[in-house]
């Protein structure tokens, strides 16, 4: 049941094969069993059970609200949830309970979805590992999969025990782990530079970033307003389409959203011969793992063999994307974080000698080094003397990057096919050898330009690596052609038949893993 698609479960609910409460309890019990993954910051058990109860009544009366009625979902902890703590994995917002729901959350609840809880992330979504939040790192469920463990046993170099568990990627790692570990059917992430697609790639999931303006940001605690979009993490493309169908559309509370003309319906693509797939040559970088590179070209071959036109395209300004992003992101971060002053909500320090001293201490205590570092850089770039040289230039480069995509699509390309990440998920101990900024710069390389241009993009898992870990590829579509993009992604998903994660062992032996986990965390502190 837990491995089914959203529509299959929905049908089962309608037919009474399972009740929403039973489904909810199954998921709650899995959440408890996989607690060590640290996927959730807050488990909203009571809320979910109450929602399940109401859903059950509706099903009994034959008044189901739709495909999402009674379906367990999870929400990244940077979306405001009325009455449920929303922390952004930061000391600054510990204990902050928003009085309102983000529009996307409200839309899901209005459809009868069950909110299982709020998922872990990098503090204020600043990171690419889900390792830099105050509630600790998120563990990749694939670390405990049968597929990965068997490969590891074969490898004489790999250590024993769980100390080399893998990161999920980020910053929506909690949402990715939650879906990957079957604790819910869909989860909301956010995507500013790849934060939904990156963990989706590492966790073997569909990770969809809609076009900027298609889905409301109202209630999403911002990282970079001009690039943020709510992301959708699911196990299947169809599931992502169902959720997108609910979320998409103009929101009077978000002036950057646009109305949609017709409801989103995903048809099955039988014939790809009219498709033109673009392969951006700049995405072939030396750091790309050879395994991913070969899967990428196999995917291109697949399209070609099925009759699609596959051409090489150029996105010449790609290499400037990361540094440009650094300037724009930190500038907006500096601005967006200004409201966290300890006065009205969130953390406030004990110092009260002056308002300024209170601000300073509150912000020092409330934010981690990564956030403070970005605030500092951003304020530097926004200084009057630097604005033209940094911010304005970065905006110009951003326009060039966006135009690269426009030119590619104008040349007849329907969808771009690229890698999502440089490599498969790496062990935590490996990951933290580099600092957050270096990691983010590396890991966002294929995903981040898309945010500059506001385009829709989706990670589709393609195969397992030699180590038994998921590898995903990214499809990028034209602005507001999200439906076309997902249609192609769905065709591709069907062709590649990505294996289901085998977690039975994990679920059965979770107590053993928990024991090992304690040891691992002890060793980390040295």
């Amino acid at each position: 049941m837990l491995g089914q698609t959203l529509r299959e479960v929905s049908a089962a609910l309608k037919q009474g094969q399972i009740t929403p409460t039973e489904l909810c309890q199954k998921c709650l019990s899995l959440i408890k069993k996989t607690k060590f993954l640290n996927a959730y910051i807050t488990v909203s058990e009571e809320v979910a059970l109450k929602q399940a109860e109401e859903s059950e009544k509706r099903y009994k009366n034959g008044q189901s609200l739709g495909d999402l009625d009674g379906i367990p979902i999870a929400v990244k902890d940077n979306f405001s949830t009325s009455g449920i703590e929303t922390t952004c994995a930061s000391n600054m917002l510990k204990g902050y309970v928003p009085p309102y729901n983000a529009t996307v959350v409200q839309k899901l609840l209005d459809q009868g979805a069950l909110l299982m809880g709020k998922t872990n992330l990098d503090e204020f979504a600043m990171g690419s590992g889900s390792t830099d939040g105050v509630f600790g790192p998120v563990k990749n469920p694939w670390s405990y999969s049968k597929q990965y463990r068997e490969k590891r046993k074969q490898n004489p170099h790999s250590g024993s025990g769980d100390s080399d568990w893998l990161i999920t990627g980020g910053s929506s790692g909690g949402s990715a782990a939650a879906v990957s570990a079957f604790t819910c059917y869909a989860a909301l992430g956010s995507d500013t530079g790849g934060s939904t697609r990156n963990p989706a790639a590492h966790c073997g999931l569909v990770g969809f970033k809609p076009s900027y303006g298609l889905v409301s940001r109202h209630g999403l605690i911002p990282l970079v307003n001009s690039m943020d979009v709510p992301g959708i993490l699911t196990r299947y493309v169809d599931d992502a389409a169902v959720v997108l169908g609910v979320l998409a559309g103009h929101d009077p509370k978000d002036s950057t959203t646009v109305p949609i003309n017709k409801p989103l319906v995903l048809s099955s693509l039988e014939d790809v011969s009219k498709l033109c797939i673009g392969i951006p040559k700049e995405y072939l970088v030396p750091e790309l793992s050879s395994e991913i590179q070969s899967l990428w070209s196999r995917a291109a071959d697949l399209f070609e063999s099925e009759g699609a036109k596959v051409i090489e395209v150029s996105l010449p300004h790609t290499s400037y994307s990361i540094v440009c992003y650094h300037v724009l992101c930190t500038s907006e971060v500096a601005s967006n974080m200004a409201r966290f002053d300890g006065l009205q909500y969130g953390h406030r320090c004990d110092i009260d000698v002056s308002t300024e001293a209170m601000y300073a201490a509150t912000r020092r205590e409330g934010f981690n080094d990564v956030v403070r570092g970005r605030i500092l850089s951003g304020n530097f770039f926004l200084l009057k003397e630097n604005y033209e040289n940094y911010f304005v230039k970065a905006q110009k480069v951003r326009r060039l990057i966006a135009n690269d995509f426009v030119n590619a699509f104008n040349s007849g390309v329907d969808v771009l096919l690229t890698p999502t990440t440089l490599s498969e998920a790496v062990p935590y101990l490996e990951f933290i050898k580099e600092d957050n900024r270096t990691r983010s710069a590396q890991d966002d390389i294929f995903t981040q330009a898309v945010n500059m241009a506001g385009l829709p993009a989706v990670n589709i898992p393609i195969a397992l690596s030699n180590q038994g870990l998921p590898i995903g590829l990214q499809f990028i579509g034209r602005a507001f052609c999200d439906q076309q993009l997902l249609t192609v992604a769905k065709w591709f998903e069907k062709q590649v038949q990505f294996p289901v994660i085998q977690l039975q062992e994990l679920v059965d032996n979770c107590s053993a893993i928990l024991e090992n986990e304690k040891l691992a965390s002890v060793s980390l502190k040295q």
């Binding site: 405001s80 605690i221 978000d254 002036s255 907006e332 601005s335 200004a338 002053d341 300024e356 200084l383």
Partner: protein
């Protein structure tokens, strides 16, 4: 432009207050008319004044003051600029605060259509070019009553630019003329108001009220075309009248709906502009004039004593009547401006650019707003002068006092008296009584109808003008009597019985043969004495003109 500058330059009589020692009130703003277009194109760099009102004493330098204003007008709207919270003065603290106003994380601004329309309307009334595309920016500074840590404003591309504000300076009591003057409007921008901080020094606490946070403001930036407190005060008063006529702001300074910051510097004409200071938060027109004139004076004294002017923010101390340095965090700030990413560019249309089939609810048509503009104060005054033949100065007075024009027009509606008579009564007697008791027109004990009735009695020669004043005095006592009742109770009617009046005249002449002799000898004043005696005999109820006529007749017979 030299000629008009010269022409107006001499009329400095009334600016004693503004014309500082050793200097003068330079007329940098030129009169309106043929020169205004040329002025508009010029930069705000100092123009060399060509003439000074007072000749400097020997050995002294001439000083010229340069004053520019930034005026914040609260937009009169039901809800705030970017949120649905109500706008209301003196509501309980923090009772009008939406999640957005409190800057809860994740909230986004949604632009209020009414505020945009108010800005366009104000821009049109001030002869501005309305930008069809304008942008919003964030201006950053940390302050407890600015919960987001930034204010959303229009820094790069404001909604309206390059306008002008025409105002009038009185040329002096005797002639009743008003000199038209003009100050250029640099721009009008939409922006958010901040909340209010209340400092409790005793308990060293600061209390925050966010009711005002996010209320829409029009920031009107005037070019430094002003040169003294009176000019600034008059220009602001005119702007206030325009805003009130448009209904775009209540512009009540006491309630903080209109706040003025003044940038002031002094220099020697022909030399570069001096270092300027900014005097903040001037919240009455009187203090505005005082503060500017004080600051000009202070800067000149400072410079003449070898000191220097610091580029600083100062505030006006109302009790001491001087400006003082604020010396706090309001000093040099880098506001780190950044585009507001959550608001797309604001696009406006006119009849020619309006997309076909556009939903009228979704677009703002500048031409349509232009058609709805009400009569502006300058036009109203022009009309008063034309329609009633009053002096321009009187038309200014009628508009300057809140409610006085309406009062005047209501009296006009009900009375047969001549407009000049009504104007005179309203501006001299009525306004005089109000001023004496420091009352607003709305608080007046005398209604327009009562005054109209009184003026009718006067007009029909039922009472004399001195009796009329007596009636007015009675009316002011709020005893609820009509002028007619007062006249009959006090027996103030003029004697209509000519025979009786002839009898009075005859008796007076008979009792005062000496005076009659004087008249007959050719002393022209002697007849006035007789008239006075007859009036006294009739208890002031006789019309002196009639008495004179009868006396002359009797004397010549």
């Amino acid at each position: 432009m030299a000629a008009p500058m010269l022409r107006w330059g001499c009329r400095g009589r009334r600016w004693a207050l503004a014309c500082v020692d050793g200097g003068s009130c330079h007329r940098r703003g030129a009169p309106t008319g043929s020169t205004s277009n040329r002025i508009r194109g010029q930069s705000s760099v100092a123009q060399q004044p060509l003439h000074t009102a007072q000749k400097p004493r020997k050995g002294e330098h001439k000083w010229a003051a340069v004053v520019g204003l930034e005026i914040h007008a609260q937009i009169s709207s039901n809800s705030k600029l970017f949120s649905g919270s109500q706008v209301r003065f003196s509501a309980p603290p923090n009772s009008l605060v939406s999640f957005f106003d409190a800057s809860l994380p994740g909230t986004l601004p949604v632009l209020n259509r009414r505020c945009v329309e108010a800005a366009v309307m104000t821009g049109l009334a001030l002869n501005c070019h309305i930008n069809k595309k304008s942008l919003f920016d964030r201006k950053h500074y940390f302050y407890a009553d600015l919960p987001a840590g930034y204010q959303i404003t229009q820094h790069r591309l404001p909604i309206a630019v390059n306008g002008s504000l025409t105002y009038g300076i009185s040329a002096g009591k005797e002639c009743g003329q008003v000199i038209p003057k003009m100050v250029r409007v640099k721009q009008i921008q939409l922006e958010q108001d901040s909340g209010k901080s209340l400092h409790d020094d005793l308990r060293s606490q600061t209390l925050i009220d966010l009711n005002r946070a996010g209320v829409g403001l029009l920031e009107v930036v005037l070019e430094p075309d002003l040169s003294c407190g009176e000019e600034a005060a008059t220009a602001v008063r005119e702007l206030q009248l325009i805003l009130q006529a448009l209904g775009t702001s209540q512009a009540n300074m006491a309630e903080g709906q209109l706040r003025v910051d003044a940038n002031i510097s002094v220099h020697h004409p022909g030399e570069p502009l001096g270092v300027r200071t900014e005097v903040k938060n001037l919240n009455s027109i009187r203090f505005l004039a005082k503060a500017i004139d004080y600051e000009i004076q202070r800067q000149i004294s400072e410079l003449e004593n070898g000191g220097e002017i610091l580029n600083e923010t100062r505030s006006f101390h109302e009790k001491l009547g001087c400006t003082v340095s604020m010396r706090d965090k309001e000093a040099k700030q880098d506001y780190r401006f950044m585009p507001e990413p959550n608001l797309p560019p604001l696009l406006l249309y006119d009849a020619t650019s309006l997309p076909t089939g556009a939903d009228p609810q979704q677009v703002i048509n500048i031409d349509q707003i232009r058609e709805t503009l009400p009569e502006l104060p300058s036009v109203t005054r022009e009309r008063l002068v034309q329609q009633y033949g009053m002096l321009p100065e009187h038309s200014f007075t009628l508009l300057n006092e809140v409610g006085l024009l309406e009062f005047f027009q209501n009296v006009m509606k009900e009375t047969r008296a001549e407009p000049k008579k009504v104007t005179s009564w309203v501006l001299n007697i009525f306004l005089g009584y109000l001023k004496q008791e420091n009352l607003a027109v709305s608080e007046s004990p005398v209604t327009p109808s009562a005054l109209a009735e009184l003026l009718d009695l006067l007009d029909s020669r039922t009472i004399s003008s001195s009796a009329a004043k007596q009636v007015f005095e009675e009316l002011w006592k709020r005893e609820g009597k009509t002028p007619g009742q007062i006249v009959s109770e006090k027996q103030l009617e003029l004697m209509q019985d000519r025979g009786a009046l002839e009898q009075f005249c005859y008796s007076v002449m008979k009792d005062h043969p000496q005076v009659v002799m004087d008249v007959k000898k050719g002393n022209p004043r002697a007849i006035n004495k007789l008239i006075g005696l007859v009036r006294k005999a009739t208890l002031n109820r006789a019309d002196p003109a009639v008495i004179k006529e009868i006396l002359e007749k009797q004397l010549s017979s």
